[in-house]
Amino acid sequence: MSNREKTDAAVRPDRPLAELWHMFFANKAAVLGLVLWLLVITTAVFGLTIHPGDPFAMVGAPMTPPGEEFLLGTDYLGRDVLTGIIHGASVTLAIGFSATVCTAIIGVTIGVLAGYYGRWVDNLLMRVTEFFQVLPPMLFVMVLISLFTPSIYLIVLAIAVVSWTGMARLARAEFLKIKEMEYVKAERAMGARNASIMAKVILPNALPPLIVAIALNVGTAILFEAALSFLGLGDPNAFSWGYMIGSSREYIWDSWWTITFPGFAIFLTVLGVSLVGDGLNDALNPKLREL
């Protein structure tokens, strides 16, 4: 092609979402993460139809090793490990997602306010953030749970209360950065209101790193819930993977499977989360996109 036809170089259709999609699916690790996630979600939704059963029911001899009768064996009470894992998937997902939603709401709101308004608002909110940051999360949640009655709602809220600080810092940093961009000043020079600048101008531009952080937070929330249940501080009525490991802990020498399989389920779920998060990060990171 000659230069004459290329005078107007920069006219090409632009579909940012399609490009994002393409970048994401070109990343093998991210696709693997997505597959893991689909697996977990399918298990949570359809698992019990394929392999029905009450996870609390004692269906076999205690500590039957994995085999023909029970694919993944039974625990010290004779409860089927596979049923437990299938049941645990929905508990884990529910808690992971709802805790993340709460975390994101608290963290993003505080970060956005601090970053946008600056000055004393920022000062105050950041002091609060730092305060929550020095409280060791597990101990703080233990205190909350011991003072109030443990329930699934308390656990979700407690996880959010101890994990919003990172999100707040990130949102604040992004807002601080974008607030100084000239297009935000331009928006103010045109008479736009603060709320509209925050919601319509800065937030969409701050979203990529926040989306990644929120995706990764699902993983940390799941791990946190697992640790709580492992310690026996979870909702006693929720049969989660952490609970399975915690309750069989005494029998580690006699029935390794009751600990290994649920743990592996957590591992794969969280691994899926981080792979998807990394894939999103790469796809959303404009620095990498240039090359």
Binding site: A10, D14, E182, Y183, K185, A186, R188
Partner: protein, 322 residues
Amino acid sequence: MNSEVSLKVDNLRTYFKVRRPHLFAEQPTVYAVDGVSFEIASGRTLGLVGESGCGKSTTAFSVLRLVEPTSGSVVLKGTDICRLNENDLRNYRRHMQIIFQDPYSSMNPRTTAGEIIRTPLKILKIGTPEEQHERVEELLSLVGLRPEQKKLYPHQFSGGQRQRICVARALAPNPDFIVCDEPVSALDVAIQSQILNLLARLQREFGLTYLFISHDMAVVQHICDEIAVMYLGRIVEKADRRSLFLDVKHPYTKALLSAVPSMDKEAKRSSTALKGDVPSPMDPPSGCHFHTRCPFAEKRCSMEIPELREVHPNHWVACHLV
């Protein structure tokens, strides 16, 4: 001054409080703009020139109240902008617009050129959506772009084209007054002239009043009718273009001019290169701010602040020795 005054800035001060390094430190204050006064006649251009940190951009932002001035008044067409409440100010913004320095960061990367230009119309609720879209196309061709380019995103334009979009956006609400904050500094030399010519043409066509901020003496000389030279938050010399360059009074202006490299072989540099750096605006020197670098400084320069005096008709200088 023979024509009507469009903008009158009187004794404008903008101080910033900076975060203290520790509890026991004194509150550091940046005296960014320290008593600046000027006026611009309708349809004309005032150039505000100076080195980085001299407060020229803060002056521009304070004039538009994008930064809250500490004291002083800014009267645009009889309205004191500093006394408007937030709502009135927002409505009043249709009369005053701004073009920024960096064409890369001055547009929201997630909106198309058309939407960018339409934004002020939407915010200020000017016209129906159909009228707004028509206006966008009209503006695009006005600044030398094609109407169909409204569908493109900022990253698909070159720096010069982006700056054209910014000009179109500033023109959208039909303002009287536009602040141009270093509009060509970030552009390649070959593109600079395109934008400068565009700004000049638009001024002729629409009778716009410009406050033109720049660090480049040659650009300022080219585009401005009047020029004010700033040093550490104060105006040190102010005159119309011709009298300023024909008869430079302030030692700082002299030094600034002699530092500009030139392609002319005759204009070999007279070696009045300034010594040292610009002092910090957090701790400006006493008296005349320039005395620490001035080759002619006397004792009283470090004690008394020189007033901006009219030494010739419409030629103002702040120096004890003039």
